[in-house]
Symmetry: C2
Subunit: 582 residues, 2 copies
């Protein structure tokens, strides 16, 4: 690490007797509310000098040990309390991967407040909506994203210039927190007595309609983080590279999972493939998370080469295609395919079976692309029939790998509610009713039943869930249901295809037929230049041997790029608009 | 595996639609009570055909896949319900490591009942006391231990001949459960709605007074098991050898931790060192648990040699001496030193520090013998001053590695209570008061504060706890407090010493002086035969260079064996009786 950096005086912890928050009164001796905030205190106690957070690819690099980082988190909590933040208040955070947002995942919880993690790729009008809807009481914003803020604001804004040096407004804020603490330390902050209290507030990117605010619980975040550390095997010797934005579903709970595992975290402000490869090759990276679209960028970067040590890639957000899995494995990246939504952390995982070892890479990849079985600390993930004649009882589809149903989930990792939207919350749950229970002198109302993911899937005889499509992604071709995902999986196996997306296009005879949008691999662009007709023919022939007739694409269109949401999901709604005009 | 064995017809699961218990009414969609029973259902769903349980070193070997084992567990639950067992009832289990007791850790929970795990090394009168005090409603007993039962019993007794074959009374019991289930499967059993319900009942071995019944909770057992799997790195490719008796503090929660991790478990009826070495060398063993006394037996067995693959040994029950740690590491056994009591699962762990790598093996071992810091899912472990002038506020001792205090703990892994003994329960907790809370329509009274372990310790500047002794193990020699544990640590470093125990003996001048009982290593017995005086001189000289004068043993006595409790703890109370007569 460069020796030019030393943390601000306020970041240096005192020789502390014990890192523990004030225990709330009245809790039984054998009941501790689950809270992922515990992890940073434990890491700072056990490995105070270990490198915890590295932010190196910026003008002002910083690196914090667990002890120093833990002190900064404490400072943030006190600074928020001094700024008038009360338990349950929302603290908006608008930042790329950087110490600011890493701090917020712990420090805001330490103030018993709720970080509202805002996507930096949104438009100012969307940010304004979220700030207003969440009623955030203060805004922590990175200097590059202040233009997203509305011109007039009634709440305080703290800007981070991402320097970690004295004079930076965020650093001054932390220093003010330290001063305000009067060295009461962690014992001056109270441990949140309610494990069902909100942990984070993240808004869905909502391809249609207003974004909805997903509220997670502390209990769910704790259990999801522990499960992620366990399933991904994150430990003291691990180094995690932040490619996935931390604002995306609270970084899939990895901001806490990494601390639980005592891993070193490296934050990258942007998805910069050459930089990612620099860290892969020089920083002993062992883990990272990313959606398939990012994984495609990684394996196709010119710097990509066989890794000296294997790296585990947690893949979620969409199913990886067989060809992507093969490309990752070829260079030593071991994909761990998990499935989740903003509404909870990773909820299922593809569990490799010993019997797959004897399969061809292609067949094995097909199995690996399935969403699999419930995660370590998740509970039910079921595929059920749609409601019938008003009867909303959950009936599982047969385990035949064919019958399409909807994925529903329940258990500790499921979200608490949509923020200030009881109607959408009620709609999101199925097969239950409103009930209530007492916990710690408080009466809580809640919906029983299961969370309705809106994802369509089959369940295979071995119990593995495999998403076929979201309901609107099914193409009804000649009366048959063709899964656009299954078609994409097959088209992606063509050696010239980098990325592909398939939507339904109206057809006079068949009702609907698949229309494929294809991005060619860089090395194949020249080959097909001016001959897209020939490529179309070749890809159709490729499909014919692999798909039933009704699922073969009727049209193939080569494009330079695909429209994507700010979180990297392909915007099929935009592709449908394009084909509607054809 | 031998092909001569096939499970009984009742053990063969049907092609099941879904392995899930009936969900209790009224639970919120995002709240699932924590319960380690979940693990076996999940393992059977994801890895149905994986080898789960191997019991091979017996006349009738058996081996069960997760699917078959899970069915047997279900059968046990139905059989218990058919036998009239209600939620909360105690089911006594008297068995060595074998499928019977492995089944009970899951199957009794599936009936919402509480396994009362009885030490097979107790006397009939002690067993009678426990059966009576626990008011167990049924007894599951291994055929070799029926003599422990009182001659007249009012409850049903199911004997296992440990054959796994039809005709075995235990197998008939399971078959009756299957018949009674009418193939309702898991859906016919209700999931325990209360995560704070009792999980297990284990009686302390109580060197003085009546044994006390320690009640653990489902929530605590779940979190302890997950932590053990995480900390020990137990995964699909792991094979766990059962040397530690499962009845000992519920096998330190490893009966569930192994299933959480999808590990294969091998059960050994007795601690048989040649057999242990057979499995170490031929069965791909990766993990086992054992107290130091068992570890000493392992490293000193004639079959001991350098292992082809490293094995992780979870060491608890007492601190391993530096010389034991060195002996283990020399042959490729990696010790993981944890600390706990019957009153909870492993609660602290010795966390290795990178800086230790540069230390001499002796110095490193001294650090490794410390009890360390709280475990992954544990909460507080503190060293506090004794109550002062009636004031029971918990005040931490300074982190100076010198000031002796008492270890107190709180958090989810702490026991719930002493069974039917509110007085002992109240005494066991310190620094709190009686409070209450509502959970799921039920009012629960509980003691706040911390559990009082009775173990004396110091806390080092790095926050690591190091036990010096239980209060009665301190030797007050010339007004100085000498730790018998510290003396034992130093004496054990002598090359001729296999095992050593030190107690206080009255001394005219100094008040008390240390008296050491020593077992010589097998290879050193001949050397000192008839010359124990010379050995005494040599060991005293050895001690002189390592210990302050007041802590040097005044007397050294060579013995053939040391008196031990049924769980392998050295009975210092008996040694004190011996020296009292001298």
């Amino acid at each position: 690490m460069p020796s030019t950096f030393s943390p601000t005086p306020a970041s240096i912890p005192p020789k502390s007797p014990r890192l523990a928050l004030r225990q709330p009164k009245g809790l039984p001796a054998n009941f501790q509310p689950l809270n992922p905030l515990q992890f940073i205190l434990r890491a700072a106690e056990i490995y105070p000098d270990k490198l915890a957070l590295v932010h190196s690819d910026v003008k002002y690099p910083v690196h914090y040990s667990f002890a120093v980082w833990c002190q900064r988190i404490q400072n943030l909590a006190y600074a928020l309390i001094q700024a008038g933040i009360n338990p349950g208040d929302r603290v908006a955070v608008i930042a790329p991967n950087s110490p600011l947002i890493a701090d917020a995942h712990h420090g805001v919880l330490a103030a018993q407040a709720v970080p509202c993690l805002i996507n930096t790729r949104l438009k100012p009008s969307e940010v304004a909506y979220i700030l207003d809807h969440s009623a955030s009481s203060i805004i922590l914003v990175d200097h590059e994203y202040t233009h997203l803020l509305p011109p007039t604001l009634k709440v305080r804004v703290i800007v981070s210039n991402d320097t970690g040096r004295s004079g930076d407004p965020y650093e001054e804020f932390l220093s003010s927190g330290r001063a305000y603490s009067q060295e009461r330390g962690w014992a001056g902050l109270e441990y949140n007595p309610d494990e069902n209290a909100p942990a984070t507030l993240c808004y869905t990117s909502g391809t249609t309609g207003r974004p909805k605010g997903v509220v997670t619980t502390l209990r769910g975040s704790y259990l999801a983080a522990v499960a992620n550390a366990y399933e991904s095997r994150i430990h003291l010797e691990s180094t995690y590279l932040w490619i996935l934005p931390m604002f995306h579903a609270a970084g899939w709970t990895f901001p806490w999972a990494n601390v639980f595992g005592f891993a070193t975290q490296i934050t990258l402000r942007t998805v910069d493939y050459p930089l990612i490869w620099k860290h892969f090759l020089n920083s002993a990276v062992t883990h990272y998370c990313g959606a398939p679209t990012v994984q495609i960028g990684i394996v196709n970067d010119p710097a990509a080469k066989r890794l000296p040590r294997p790296i585990s890639a947690i893949v979620a957000g969409a199913a990886p295609t067989a060809s992507l899995i093969a490309s990752l494995e070829k260079i030593g990246i071991q994909p761990i395919h998990v499935y989740g939504l903003t509404q909870y952390g990773p909820f299922t995982r593809n569990f490799a079976q010993p019997s797959w070892a004897s399969l061809s890479p292609q067949d094995r990849s097909t199995f690996m692309a399935r969403q699999g079985h419930p995660f370590a600390t998740a509970q039910d993930a079921r595929v059920v029939h749609p409601p019938k004649d008003g009867d909303d009882t959950l009936v599982d589809v047969p385990r035949d790998g064919k019958t399409v149903g909807e994925i529903v989930t329940r258990g500790n990792i499921v979200m608490k509610e949509y923020f200030r939207d009881p109607e959408a919350t009620a709609k999101a749950f199925r097969g239950g009713e409103i009930d209530f229970y007492h916990i710690l002198h408080k009466l809580i109302f809640w919906s029983t039943g299961s969370f309705n993911t809106g994802d369509l899937a089959v369940i295979h005889p071995d119990g593995a869930i495999a998403i076929v499509d979201r309901s609107k992604d099914i193409i009804i071709s000649g009366g048959e249901n063709a899964s656009s995902l299954a078609i994409e999986q097959e088209l992606a196996s063509h050696p010239c295809v980098l990325e592909v997306s398939v939507v339904a296009r109206n057809h006079v005879k068949w009702g609907e037929r698949p229309h494929a949008f294809v991005i060619l691999r860089p090395k194949s662009i020249a080959k097909w230049k001016g001959r897209h007709d020939a490529f179309e023919k070749e890809l159709k022939a490729h499909a014919k041997g692999r798909l039933p007739g009704f699922a073969c694409p009727e049209w193939v269109q080569v494009v330079d790029e695909l429209p994507k949401t700010s979180t990297g999901k392909i915007l099929k709604v935009d592709l449908r608009k394009i084909v509607a005009k054809l």
